[in-house]
Subunit: 578 residues, 2 copies
Amino acid sequence: MLKNITEAQLKNMTLKELIALCEEAREVITKTVLNNGGHLSSNLGTVELTVALHYVFDFPEDKLIFDVGHQCYTHKLLTGRYDKFNTIRQKDGISGFPKREESLFDCYDTGHAGTSVSAALGIAKARDIKGEKFNVIALIGDGSFNNGLIYEAFNSLRLLNTNVLLILNDNGMSIAPTVGSMHEYLEILSEDMQHKSKVDRHAKIFERFGFGYDGVYDGNDLEVMINKLTEVRERIKKESVILHVLTKKGKGYSFCEDDPESTHGIAKNNQPVQFNEYSQVLGKTLTRLAAKNDRIVAVTAAMTSSLGLSEFFEKYPDRSVDVGICEEHATILCASMATEGMKPYYAVYSTFLQRSFDEIVIDICEQNLPVTLCIDRAGVSGADGETHQGVFDLSFLSFIPNLTIAVPKDLNEFEKMIEFSEGFNAPLAIRYPREGKRFFGACEKIACGKWEKLAEGDGKYAILACGERAVTQAFAAAEELKAQGVSVTIINARFVKPLDTVMLGGLQEKFILTVEDNMLAGGFGSVVNGYFIGGNKILKNFAYADEFIPQGSVSELMQERNLSGRAITEFIKSNENR
Amino acid sequence: MLKNITEAQLKNMTLKELIALCEEAREVITKTVLNNGGHLSSNLGTVELTVALHYVFDFPEDKLIFDVGHQCYTHKLLTGRYDKFNTIRQKDGISGFPKREESLFDCYDTGHAGTSVSAALGIAKARDIKGEKFNVIALIGDGSFNNGLIYEAFNSLRLLNTNVLLILNDNGMSIAPTVGSMHEYLEILSEDMQHKSKVDRHAKIFERFGFGYDGVYDGNDLEVMINKLTEVRERIKKESVILHVLTKKGKGYSFCEDDPESTHGIAKNNQPVQFNEYSQVLGKTLTRLAAKNDRIVAVTAAMTSSLGLSEFFEKYPDRSVDVGICEEHATILCASMATEGMKPYYAVYSTFLQRSFDEIVIDICEQNLPVTLCIDRAGVSGADGETHQGVFDLSFLSFIPNLTIAVPKDLNEFEKMIEFSEGFNAPLAIRYPREGKRFFGACEKIACGKWEKLAEGDGKYAILACGERAVTQAFAAAEELKAQGVSVTIINARFVKPLDTVMLGGLQEKFILTVEDNMLAGGFGSVVNGYFIGGNKILKNFAYADEFIPQGSVSELMQERNLSGRAITEFIKSNENR
């Protein structure tokens, strides 16, 4: 039934048919995600809710915004993307997130947490200004509900004087179990719902902000969902409403129901989630150091396990903080703990560190505090696409005064850098990709701003490679070139700030090539270019051009953008007669 | 009494003496601020509160964090800075904000809103880890209380399992009157206090997050404040407490009490607040365009009047939104309104735009939406110092795909740029300083990425000047050089992204000088350097080096950092024999 289904057909189905439709959607999602990778349990939990929304509301006239977007697969299946669904998260396929470019039914792109309520209010406000009448719905999980943006949006509801429907999909988890006082409050409300009591009394918080409140205890019961949404559709003509829906993450697939955390994200071909070797080294090293140093504290924002910190959190609960999806708050906690002599490590994905930009500048760097930013999933991150690529961090960090930026060439060196960080008494950022190898041999002791020469060439070309992916490509090029009688110098540029000006100043090579898994503008290459301004070197930068990078595998994305041994080799060969 | 007062002396004073001390502090603050400029009414409102805090608590063992810091003057007077107080906000003088470098009594630097609760929690958590016992107090105004960081901090209170005292200084204003649902809620609580009724019932929101709640109706009554703080000091041994204190902004100085908004910030020598010519042009132009274009919307975050938008807000209330100090939310409101065909303008100070970095990348630019960022107070901003300099914006914007960045050379051109923006269907940032002149004559029509040549030289030197301050210095240099027989080309580089590669490619000059009121790293000069990589030009960048810039007048700060006609002249003269 799902194939080529239209909104009109769906609305004409009987309840029995709709339930069968849900089962079919669940099956397609499970099969596809086990094959392609993607977000499984979050999508399984919201099948009935999504079908009910499409049954009750009129999309695309009505607008549906998915917070983060980990719950949008059923919506994609219902809105003309059944045939392409097997391409989800593949290169040139459909996105795993809502994308305006992909469908009229996707009205707002998401990817980072907490934006949906603000977006719903903006769309509703525009509707009111234009004198139109459609409904605006934000669907948000309880994990995102911790983010400060929610409060900012709530605070302006009455100001904006507009009506939206906010569906709070509460499964008690973000990726990890949800934490925090708001979560505890939602649990109280859930219990009230179960006992059909006191809900009105406890729901006052939302009412204070101008929302009506209603709840659905079994959000996986399609009939109940349809009835409640039908009722609420009338109510939001007069006021904004929060509909608190309890769903079961991973519903219908026992493997997920039993272990929703590790089935939140699934890797390709039913393999366990990809290894994250750098994260593991972070966790092991910090745990080891913390045994002897009681000032070490680890802070995360709802990503403890993916960041490799589970063991640390188990061993040192008093020195571990997971604040939920609150990246700004996490950053300030680190800065302020550092003022009291603690040694805080904030571990975070590169893309989510963007939320902390102001706090990195003002709270950490202006105060020159010894916080270490452990920036995971740096560089292109693969199948999540545009909203999750970690390719901006060197650009948004490299101009901040007082900040030192380190980039390890392999896991050995990463471990040494963490050891180095322990005694480093100023702001430090270490950025690294997901996958890693103990590849380039034992590494000398880390000293701030000191690079190392990994290969000595014949004096014409020097490749300055920043990070493991870049060093790997530099070696790939060197090998190919060697067969052709060209020998290149390879330098492990393990600090982006400060540059190793001693080594730079000593380079005799005419051609200086930089390689980095980051944007060209403002990145490592741009800093090196600045150093050589006015000299007579020939400079060539391998980095990402000025565009958002779509989904694909890491190697596909890098190859296509000439961040490859092949591209380096070709550049050098084309210059052999110069 | 104030001069050289110690904590011990203050604690031995009688109530009468303490009241006299308050009056003296009020007098010194008023006199100094009317002379030096600074934050007047916010500081006058919190004199008693601050004296009471110093009477009851033991600083610097106990820690006091000022949110934003507009309320710290009395604290500075009480903690060894009486003698230097006349240097406040002057070059090389004491700061108008809390600064750890300045005093042991300043435990956390602030400047941007909403950070104090997170910082208090971090400091308290560090205290607990270390097994120490001091008290941690955050003092926050009701304006900052709108910021999402507050919610993130509240949400983690129970998680962190620590105790702090949060003093909510409620005067009903931030700079402008406070807006939003939280403010309305605080008003309900204030009424309860007045009638000594129902407070417990209404204060449930705070209790949900794990705070005890108490209130003081007259926060300017010293005796009441002392008694309440004494009581609360015991209570926070067992739980975190929000103490909601009502104060009168501008208390004790009728000029301020009557008009707390325009006396929030005072310019030097009792002049009215400095002119902000660019803001005025923004307001006038947008108001004019909005008369014919009903899609134009203006959004601000608690700065409407300072951004020149009062008239717009009065004329078009339905298309005006001030969300309070919620920069991230404001940014998403703009992006989402744009998805519905609106033409949103988000006006904001450069330094506060830092809070929106992630939303600029993900919500505006990834979706390629026609939002215009009107970035006011760009470049060094003067007396507020390190936390308020607008010198990072070109660096954190210039690598974002899909974004166009424009920088006007004068007010005429700014007006033309706003007109240009109306028909520009993609993300656009326009950055400008506070002060401006209609100086450089009529300006040609703006075309995206097109620069203009303002002066043709004798072919050796080209100055690429970005923005009015830079163009002004370029002309100053040109004039001086002319007297010495050197004639330079001056180019108005009014787009930082995209560059005018046609004009750049046609430059015959050997020496290319860039001038900008921004960091060197990642800024305009760095982008130009990237263009010329591999060529044979001699490049010289005039921009800010890698350090936080302290307070001073705009011209002092620029001169000292060689952003001046003088420095340009000297560079050129030193190259006359090359």
